[in-house]
């Protein structure tokens, strides 16, 4: 017994001494992810962004990310994950989910020397975050209008299904953007946009939590059973394209538009119309470069598509990778749509293409009069904006509030 105690004590001691250390001049950063780093979606896009930074910048170390830190996994709380990264020497921590917004601001106060970047929050915009917290988000609205357009170009049944996560401002504005893109391109095909059926099913969270959310596999099938032949994914994981691939293999004519991660089409290339994706590498490089040089300042940062070269891996923040499932003719139509969007973006840096009046919410509330451009963001309650989408748009089938 005594021997055992000595062995255990020695082991403890050696473990404490073996704390990892890095050379003084290395800049260390880490990230907290909601899902696994290989989820084929949201979390993987962030992970690849970190890998990009580690390759591009000298003297930078990217720690193994903290994966699966989420409500479904309460054994490892957010605070423990963050302090583990800081113990390993992290000087900058990306907290890559809106789920972490409040926790990030809270914990940042305990670590004033560490820079925190919360992805998709708006505490820095609202001025409620400590000085060492910044926000970054991509203008995925652009990606989603392209997703909606691709779906509307290809649909044969005139019915599109959208697999939504939970309901909030972000998810509503993304659904709305996809719908606007779909209407526009359906009309461009010579069809009546009012005939387009656009149905949203919310599963209740960013990904499946058994017993708590609806099952995304089941819901994807249900949307297809109800007549949709294109599924647009709005959730973090890949169920939509997996199900569509399965249905196509049994002979159904169906397609999918996955989400978040550039490589998401690979799961089932033949049914993939394309994927709107976040490309975090360039903006992460800028942020880390600034932090390394000591010039970083609190900011609410938006990353945009590089309109001169949408899929340029060194410059774009939001991209759209066309999938093998899109017909050549439709791919050409999508390309000319993207050119129109680019032209609009040049002229209206404050707005998003197609978010132009007349626009109305589901309950009939007018959002923008004929010809008026909606601003991207404006303080909530003072003026309507794309960012604070309070309802789904008129014409969408689905719930606006949970």
């Amino acid at each position: 017994m005594r021997k055992l105690i000595i062995v255990v004590a020695l082991l403890c001691l050696s473990a404490i001494l073996a704390l990892p250390t890095f050379a003084q001049d290395e800049f260390v950063f880490g990230m907290v992810l909601v899902g696994p780093k290989n989820d084929g979606g949201w979390s993987q896009a962030h992970f690849e962004g970190g890998v990009y930074v580690a390759e591009m910048l000298d003297g930078v170390t990217f720690l193994e990310p903290q994966e699966n830190i989420n409500a479904g996994n309460p054994d490892v709380p957010f605070d423990v994950a963050v302090s583990a990264l800081i113990d390993q020497g992290a000087q900058l921590v990306f907290t890559a989910s809106d789920e972490y917004e409040e926790d990030t601001s809270r914990i940042a106060a305990d670590y004033p020397d560490v820079t925190f970047i919360n992805v998709s929050g708006d505490d820095a915009y609202l001025g409620t975050a400590p000085a060492n917290v910044g926000n970054v988000m991509g203008t995925m609205e652009w990606g989603k209008i392209m997703a909606g357009c691709a779906a509307a170009l290809q649909t044969e049944t005139g019915s599109i299904g959208y697999l939504g996560p939970l309901i909030n401002f972000e998810t509503r504005r993304l659904v709305n953007s996809a719908y606007l893109g779909a209407r526009h391109c359906y009309e461009a095909r010579g069809m009546n946009p009012d005939d387009l059926v656009f149905t949203v099913t919310w599963i209740g969270f960013w990904f499946n939590i058994p017993g708590v959310t609806l099952d995304p596999t089941e819901e994807a099938n249900t949307l297809l059973n109800n007549g949709a032949d294109v599924l647009i994914s709005g959730i973090d994981t890949t169920e939509a394209i997996t199900v569509v691939g399965q249905r196509a293999a049994q002979g159904d004519t169906v397609w999918a538009v996955p989400y978040d991660f550039m490589g998401a089409c690979d799961i089932s290339p033949d049914v993939c119309l394309g994927v709107p994706y976040f490309h975090w590498g360039p903006v992460y490089s800028d942020l880390i470069g600034a932090a390394q040089a000591g010039t970083w300042e609190q900011d609410w940062l938006l990353t945009n598509p590089d309109w001169s070269d949408l899929n340029n891996q060194d410059t774009t923040g939001i991209g759209f990778m066309t999938g093998p499932g899109l017909t050549e003719e439709n791919a050409a139509a999508l390309e000319s749509f993207i050119a129109d969007a680019a032209a609009y973006a040049e002229e209206n840096p404050e707005g998003i293409y197609l978010w132009t009046g007349p626009l109305a919410y589901q309950d009939g509330t007018v959002l923008a009069e004929e010809g008026a451009n909606l601003p991207y963001i404006a303080p909530l309650g003072e003026a309507p904006s794309v960012w604070y989408s309070e309802q789904l748009l008129e014409g969408i089938v689905g719930a606006s509030e949970s």
Partner: protein, 359 residues
Amino acid sequence: MNPQRLMTRFGKALIPVAISLLVTALLVSLAGVNPLNAATELLRGSFRDLGAFANVVNFWIPLTFASIGLIITFTAGLWNIGVDGQITIGAIFASAVALSWDLPAPLLIAAQIVAAMVGGGLWGALVGILKARLGVNEIFGGVALNQIANLATLYMITGPWQPPEGGSVRSSPPFPPEALLPRLSDDFRISPLMLIGVVVALIVVYLALRGTRWGLQLKATGKNPRSALLMGVPTNRTVITAFIVCGMLAGVAGAFRALVVFQSLRPLVSGGIGFLAILVALLAENRVLLVPFITFVFSALLGGSAQLKVALRLDVALVGVVQGILVLTALLFKGASERFQATSSQPSRTATRPEVAHE
């Protein structure tokens, strides 16, 4: 108890521990990690510094509350799988008070804990009434009520307690500072109030089971409800009160999770502590005084699990595997040794349960 019996008992406890460690080591090696590394990281995660140790204590307190509650229902022969839901409802009730009542700190804290006990007790009573009056098996009633409690949490977060900026499922608004329990120090963030609470609960439940009429009724009901009824024990009432008291203790555990661990209401707020508590109660075999030790080991494992994940990328499920295998081998070993004794010498079944003599 003489030293020799103590030794054999100790030896008996050690064999399942050794077996489960061996199996775990094998699994860890399968995952490509040196088991010794895993063990050191685990210990480092739990005991590295005061902060890490406080984390262990913060698992230990709610787990112990729930486990001693379960000793009560187990004594009455009841499978209170619904304990996890009772923790959750306790957390919701405590949050309701924290978010809506405007009281000075001491009163607010007292009100929160009382509310949590009421909530947990009600949820427990529901299982008890379903079981005793309506014949619904407590296991299934409990499982369903657990899920409903989880969904109720989500409903409160996405509905009535929506943060001002709207639509999110991450948490309720953070509780006001008056609602939070005072901490021992900034380095050692544990709540002395709750620590005292656990000790008091341990003593009270120990005494209640040992020396009160209610304790005897619980035991009689647990042994054989039919003959207990014939002996004049109001078994239905005993069953329901057992669930209520267990629910109240679980409710305090829930209040702790919300008020101390998260400082807001979260989805899946219990963190599965109720299920762990069932494993603890199975290991303790209705002996209240063993509970704090078992829960301490479990909490140290939980506290270290995050470190395993962080340092060695071992999934936290590993800790669940260790705990599960430990309880399973303990049950199997107990069966095997009883079997062995039964064949080698005539069994004296009453000897292991001296309390029967009191009845």
